[in-house]
Amino acid sequence: MVRAISINRLQAKLTHKLSGLELRVDFAVEGGMIVLFGPSGCGKTTTLNCLAGLISPDSGLIQVNEKMFFDSQARINLSPQMRRVGYVFQNSALFPHLDVRRNILFGIDDWNKEKQKQKLEYLVELVHLNGLLDRRPDQLSGGQIQRVALARALAPEPQLLLLDEPFSSLDMDLRSQLAEELCRVQASLEVPVILVTHSKEEARQLADTVICMEAGKIRAAGSPAEVL
């Protein structure tokens, strides 16, 4: 069953054929923390990649606020660079050849030095990275890596933030601690967040809205209490 929620900030309606899976999703959400929940291989990550512009869906449309990212009928397909979407990948993918500072500044290295410095200080405060700026990614713990990845994605002030299983490599204690931090960050920034997870716990803890996916389709969508 496909169900639209409310139409304001993010609208995505897309179909995309992959080998062994036909993705067919249609949802519209109004900011807050949106959790894409479902088993492995149900198309969650593919959906994120479509939103970020790393995959072009076969057809459909994607709109964030008034900005059309993708519209197959009007032949609009913005490049990932034009979309201003923050994306934290599953393995976090910090650049191994750069220290924490240069990882975070990577997306804003064309800003003037003063603005870069302000942004860096703000992000260090926001996700608690004091004293880590000169370290290389291989000198960080799992939780620190995820925090840096989050700061790096937030630096260019994205209008949409995508998180692909951001806690999957962390132990339980750290998970819930980081999840709380993420909720705090999300509340302080007015940017819609879409988080992918296959953990029901996480979905319950984090979501304003849960979108349940199964075999490429949306099975249910609504508040965690309604759909989980």
Binding site: A52, P80, Y87, F106
Partner: protein, 219 residues
């Protein structure tokens, strides 16, 4: 007359110039083959490997067909500039470039393929263009493999014999590189000179590899 120091200088000059050209062209081709799907990719791939498989004299013959005064490219070059690369030291550079290119293409391709594409995707979502992503992410992350390819290219160019002989000839004091000088010395019974040249070549190669290894391990 064989001039050992001229031959050594020429060999080093030819190898350095060829390495400069091949490093850039080979990395670009390696990137293309590793990351871009385009029609005719397999043909380009095979063509890039062919000079490695064919005897250098065969490659030299093809180069004659292309660069000789009446060759496919050579005729236009001659008509435009009145110059032909035949039997000049520049021909030795052309020969070394074509012979050494496959090694660089294969090593750079392998090095670039080993870089997780997620890093490049991250850079795109952070607003970096394809070119800037290449220089800021792909290149530094594949730099060790590329450096190995550059060293191999240099050593292969330094030892090039067959194609060089076909295209540049063996003119003492003009196009006679070290391998050609060694060949001529042994053919004309100057065994002491040949031994001296061989020692000079071996010590130079040893020094180059030893020095680059030292730099590589500190890096």
């Amino acid at each position: 007359m064989i001039d050992p120091w001229f031959s050594l200088r020429l060999s080093l000059l030819v190898a350095l110039l060829a390495t400069a050209v091949v490093s850039v062209a080979g990395t670009a081709l390696g990137f293309l083959l590793a990351r871009v799907r385009f029609p005719g990719r397999d043909v380009v791939d095979t063509l890039c490997t062919l000079p490695l498989v064919l005897p250098p004299t065969v490659v030299g013959f093809f180069l004659l067909c292309v660069f000789a005064r009446r060759g496919a490219l050579g005729q236009y070059l001659y008509a435009l500039t009145g110059w032909t690369p035949m039997f000049t030291w520049q021909a030795a550079v052309i020969a070394a470039v074509v012979i050494a290119l496959p090694i660089m293409v294969r090593t750079s391709r392998g090095a670039i393929e080993s870089v997780d594409t997620t890093f490049e995707k991250v850079a795109y979502t952070l607003g970096q263009s394809g070119l800037s992503t290449f220089f800021k992410v792909t290149l530094p992350l594949s730099s060790k493999g590329l450096a190995a390819g550059i060293v191999l290219t240099f050593t292969r160019a330094l030892g090039e014999f067959g194609a060089t002989l076909m295209l540049a000839g063996n003119i003492p004091g003009k196009t006679q590189t070290m391998p050609l000088a060694i060949y001529q010395a042994t053919q004309t019974g100057q065994d002491d000179l040949a031994l001296g040249l061989v020692m000079l070549m071996t010590i130079t190669s040893f020094g180059v590899i030893f020095w680059t290894n030292r730099i590589g391990s500190k890096w």
